[in-house]
Every structure is written in structure tokens, then in C-alpha cells.
């Protein structure tokens, strides 16, 4: 029972080479589906245990921390692990038909091997309690995602993956520099141990430099404006299932890393009191939200539009994170959960469309709402959630964010959040208008609805948006608990 956190990492890790060894039939896909559902069950069990008895800890190899690597799961990690596994459990079945049609049959076994490696990396980042281990898993997930993104049909997937590789490696190396500086100050790599030893040395320039490098490195990984430049190309040209999975998980896990470093390692008092991080993060993310929402309006490709929208949504999370209050953190963590559901649903819907018509350019989507009503309705539902219409999950996180802003007395910030939600209406409307309010061209008359194998995952995610928009006890409740534990109130 106490080995569950380790199993979360080990099961996908062992399944990855197994998937590569299988022949290029449906077997690698079935293995990946089995792994993703098993891992979902384990994540649910871990969350239940953490909510019941408090943070759980597993020592790798029996070496006690701080000398050995410790996997430490509390309410925050368990929630993030759950969201990664939920998205995986839905997107891997989706990837069966979608990836087979986009990649052909040649590289399918290696595709699922890479997918499982990304899964390993992301879950590893989430459960580990050792900061260097976090770097290793960060690189595992990043390298596998560079390879996955390069598998897209368009040749620009290659340059997108290359650009992401260069920028991502610089970001991860900055993270490594920060870790090294922290180690030289305190002599430990265990996160809980760092937290107890850092206050004594927090006044030194080394600590400040480590802080700066860590924030810069993680900021690049979570696509904070202005180092978000890798994201639009990477999400647009990757295969549809890869876009859906990575858009819904990779940047969220990076937000989790930021929360861990800022709140657990350094402590809220240092990060936002001594270091002027609140104005920096809020300024950068607000500019990012406004600029990328406006850029989303100008896009001709629906996937690219959603990619810019993702940067804006991450901006909301960083704004919530930068408040350093319970309300702000609750907003950020709830939005991590909800945004994964939203973007998962939206990218999967576009993947289903791409499966049928081979493109996601808005001009090609004209009239498709009549030929593929279920798919585009799911897109519209995800779009409503993105905008933040009451009754959907997006409303809940924006509500908490505005509450947090008003609590601080920052009316102007609440105004910016509302104004950018209106911009979201505009760019979602562009796709909806093309899909339903334009006539279906003659050469698309043969297009039928997406197959059930694609439609079911899309609707599971779209329905989840509505479910978690109405019943928020789970998402917001756990987020509030996680927020309080981050700020040091209760474990």
C-alpha cells in the first residue's frame, strides 16, 4: 500500500520499453491503455489515502531521507497526479485511432513507448520529494515530448520540436544551476530538508541567485510570457493526441514545480516578501494574458489559436500563484485542474475533426458543425468552459481568481481577467461561427461524424467540464486544502 507512489512511476517506466518491443499492431496501444487506466486507479488510491491520513512518504531503496531519494505525496501532488492520470486515461484511448491515422502504422510501437516515457516523467515530477530527482524527471518528460512533437505530419513539427528542445534545455539547465546553488548552500537535495535549512542562509546572494535561476528556468517550462515562444509551434504541429496530452499536462506540472519551489522550498515569506516576485509575476503574466489572447484572435489555425489561449490560461494560474494568499492559491490550483479538462476536451475535439478532414485550419472547418455535430458541440462546450460561463469548470476557477483579486483590493486585475474572458469569447466564436454559420463546402459533403473511439474520450472530457463546474467540492475543496498546506497552516 505504501508503495503506491513508487508504482505510479515504475509502471509506465517498465511498460515503455515493452511497448517499443511489441510489433506495430494494436498491441502497443492496448498496453498503453492498460497502463494509463492502472495508473489512474493508483492515483485515485493515493489521493484517497492522502486525504484520509495526511502526506505519505516512500523512500527509494530503503535509504532514509535526506540521504536517499524520497517520494512525498501531499494534497497538492496527489491532485496534480490525479489530473495527469485522468487526462492520460482519456487521451490514450483517443490516441488509438487518431495516432494511427496521423502516423501510419510504421512508428506506432515507438510512439506509445515515447508516450509512456512522457507519462513516467510527468508522474515522477509530481510525486518526488527530491529536487534533483525533479530535474531528472523533468528532462525525461521533456526529451520524450520533443520526440513526440517531432512526429507530426507537417514538416514544421521538426522545427517546432527543435525550437522547443533548445529553449526547454536552457530552462532545465537554469533549473539545474538553481539546484546546484541550493545544494552548495545547504548540503541537501531533499525538498523538506531544504525548506528547514534555507531560512538560515536565505540572506546570502547565493540564495537569491538560486531563486532567480529556479524561477527563470521553471518560467520557461511553464510558458510564462515572454519565454512562451516555443509553445504555439509545438502545440500546433504535434500529432493531435500529443497536443491534447501535452497541452493538458506538461505546463500544469511545471506550475506544480513552481508552487513547490516558491512555497515549500523557499517559503511564501521569502518568495513574495523578501524577493519582489509578486509584482514581477503579475506584470509578466498580465501582459502575457492580454497579448496572447489578442494573438489568438488573429490565428488562422484552430490549434494555434488554442495554443495561444493556453499561454493566456497559464497566465491566470501564475497570477493566482503570485498572490500568496489562500484564495489566490486555491484559484491557481483549481485552474490547473479545470484547464487540463478544458484544453483536453478542446484539443481532442480538434483531433477528431483532423481525423475526418485532415486539417484544423479555420477556413477548412467551415460548415463542419453540421457534418460533425457531436464533435463540434463538445468543442463549443469546452469553449464555454474556457470563457468561464457559469455552470462550467472555467467559471469556478475564474470566480476564485477574481475573489482573490478583490480580497487584495486590486479591482483593476479583476477587470483585466474579465476583459480577457471577453476576448476568449471572440476567439472561440471564430471557430464556432466557421463551424455552424458557414455553408458546408461541396467537397466536404461526404464527411461523417467522428468514430465512437474518438467521440467517447472527447465527450468524457467535455462532460467533466460541466460536472466539475457544478460540483466543485472535489476540485476546489482539495485545492483549498493544498493551498493551506502550501502556506504552512496544516499538512
Amino acid at each position: 500500500m505504501d508503495q503506491l507512489p513508487a508504482l505510479l512511476v515504475v509502471i509506465p517506466l517498465l511498460a515503455a520499453p515493452l511497448a517499443a518491443a511489441l510489433p506495430n499492431t494494436r498491441l502497443p496501444w492496448l498496453l498503453a491503455v492498460a497502463v494509463s487506466w492502472t495508473v489512474l486507479g493508483i492515483a485515485i488510491a493515493v489521493l484517497a489515502e492522502v486525504l484520509g491520513t495526511g502526506p505519505i512518504s516512500y523512500t527509494m531503496g530503503g535509504w532514509d531521507p535526506p540521504f536517499g531519494i524520497e517520494l512525498r505525496v501531499d494534497a497538492l501532488n496527489a491532485l496534480i497526479a490525479l489530473i495527469v492520470t485522468i487526462i492520460g486515461a482519456v487521451v490514450v484511448p483517443f490516441a488509438g485511432p487518431s495516432a494511427s491515422s496521423e502516423l501510419g502504422s510504421r512508428g506506432i510501437a515507438l510512439f506509445y513507448c515515447l508516450f509512456l516515457l512522457v507519462y513516467t516523467g510527468l508522474l515522477g515530477i509530481t510525486v518526488t520529494g527530491d529536487i534533483f530527482n525533479m530535474f531528472v524527471f523533468l528532462e525525461i518528460s521533456s526529451l520524450s515530448s520533443y520526440a513526440l512533437i517531432a512526429l507530426g505530419r507537417d514538416r514544421r513539427a521538426l522545427t517546432a520540436s527543435y525550437q522547443y528542445l533548445i529553449m526547454g534545455t536552457i530552462g532545465a539547465t537554469f533549473f539545474l544551476i538553481g539546484v546546484g546553488l541550493l545544494y552548495s548552500l545547504t548540503g541537501t537535495l531533499n525538498i523538506a530538508d531544504l525548506a528547514s535549512r534555507l531560512p538560515a542562509v536565505a540572506g546570502t546572494r547565493t540564495a537569491q541567485t538560486a531563486f532567480a535561476f529556479l524561477v527563470a528556468g521553471i518560467g520557461l517550462k511553464l510558458a510564462l510570457f515572454p519565454v512562451h515562444l516555443w509553445l504555439p509551434n509545438a502545440y500546433t504541429y504535434a500529432p493531435s493526441a500529443v497536443s491534447a496530452f501535452i497541452a493538458a499536462t506538461a505546463t500544469k506540472v511545471a506550475v506544480y514545480v513552481m508552487l513547490r519551489v516558491l512555497y515549500t522550498v523557499f517559503g511564501a515569506g521569502y518568495s513574495f516578501g523578501t524577493m519582489p516576485l509578486t509584482p514581477i509575476l503579475i506584470a509578466l503574466s498580465l501582459v502575457g494574458i492580454v497579448v496572447t489572447s489578442l494573438m489568438a484572435l488573429n490565428q488562422n489555425d484552430a490549434k494555434r489559436l488554442l495554443a495561444y489561449s493556453s499561454v493566456a490560461q497559464i497566465g491566470y494560474m501564475v497570477v493566482g500563484l503570485a498572490f500568496a494568499t489562500t484564495a489566490g492559491l486555491t484559484a491557481a490550483i483549481t485552474h490547473v485542474f479545470n484547464h487540463a479538462l478544458m484544453k483536453g476536451a478542446l484539443f481532442c475535439a480538434l483531433g477528431a475533426v483532423a481525423y475526418r478532414i485532415g486539417s484544423t485550419r479555420i477556413r477548412e472547418l467551415e460548415g463542419i458543425g453540421r457534418a460533425m455535430p457531436w464533435t463540434m458541440s463538445a468543442f463549443a462546450l469546452g469553449g464555454l468552459s474556457l470563457i468561464g460561463v457559469p455552470g462550467t469548470a472555467g467559471f469556478v476557477s475564474k470566480w476564485y481568481l477574481i475573489l482573490a483579486a478583490l480580497e487584495q483590493g486590486w479591482w483593476w486585475l479583476a477587470g483585466v481577467v474579465l476583459a480577457t474572458s471577453l476576448i476568449a469569447v471572440m476567439y472561440i466564436w471564430r471557430v464556432v461561427e466557421a463551424a455552424w454559420f458557414r455553408p458546408l463546402p461541396a467537397h466536404r459533403a461526404e464527411v461523417r461524424e467522428a468514430p465512437l473511439g474518438l467521440l467517447v474520450p472527447v465527450w468524457v472530457l467535455a462532460a467533466a467540464n460541466v460536472w466539475f463546474g457544478i460540483d466543485t467540492r472535489f476540485s476546489a475543496g482539495i485545492a483549498a486544502r493544498a493551498a493551506e498546506s502550501l502556506l504552512g497552516a496544516a499538512p
Binding site: L143, A150, T159, L165, I166, Y183
Partner: protein, 117 residues
């Protein structure tokens, strides 16, 4: 003198800046990866410099030696070197594929081809 005694850190700074400058300014995709490697190498040197204990021997158990340098940074750097190797291999594989798809490995020529698309 303090400045000269810390010569490894000066080398670290020089290599880090040289590596980052190469990544940013060079248009050739292979040169960018070379710059990335130089940047990562500077970080490795930095870590190993942190691990040095004054008067310490290499961290291999030996008769009669009481002070050893800290072996943990060495282990961390071995891991980071492997990560660097994997990144370089992946980057170069991508460059090979880009060469096949675009016919060039110069960034500006690739941009021109993409804009015509």
C-alpha cells in the same frame, strides 16, 4: 588573491556566456546544439567546483586518506551529463530530419521556406 583562487568560477561564467551566445546568435542548427553543450558543460564544472573540499583527495576510498572531496556533486553531474548526451543526440537527430525535409540547416533559410508555405 580571491579572484585568482576562484579561477574555475571565472571559467564557468565564460563558458556559460559563450554557450548561450552561440545558441542565440548562430543561425546554423548544429552550431546551436554545440552552444547548448558548452552551456551545459559550464554548469557541470560549476557543480564539481562546489564539491571540492580544500585538501581533499578524490572521493575513492583509500588507506590513510581522511579528507575526501564531496562525491555527491560528481554523481549529480554524471546524471546531468547523460541528460546532456541524450539531448544532443535528440537534437542532432532532429537536425538530420530537418535537413531531409528542408534541404538546409540554416535557420533563416528555413524561416523563408516556412513563410512561403
Amino acid at each position: 588573491m580571491e579572484v585568482l583562487g576562484h579561477y574555475n568560477y571565472w571559467i564557468v561564467i565564460f563558458l556559460m556566456m559563450a554557450g548561450l551566445y552561440t545558441v542565440i546568435s548562430r543561425g546554423n542548427l548544429v552550431k546551436k546544439i554545440a552552444g547548448l553543450n558548452i552551456f551545459q558543460t559550464s554548469v557541470f564544472i560549476m557543480f564539481i567546483s562546489f564539491g571540492y573540499v580544500r585538501g581533499g583527495a578524490a572521493p575513492i576510498l583509500e588507506e590513510g586518506v581522511t579528507i575526501y572531496s564531496n562525491p555527491l556533486p560528481h554523481v549529480l553531474i554524471l546524471t546531468a551529463i547523460v541528460v546532456g548526451v541524450a539531448t544532443t543526440a535528440l537534437g542532432l537527430a532532429l537536425v538530420v530530419r530537418i535537413r531531409e525535409a528542408y534541404g538546409t540547416v540554416e535557420e533563416d533559410e528555413i524561416h523563408v521556406q516556412d513563410e512561403d508555405f
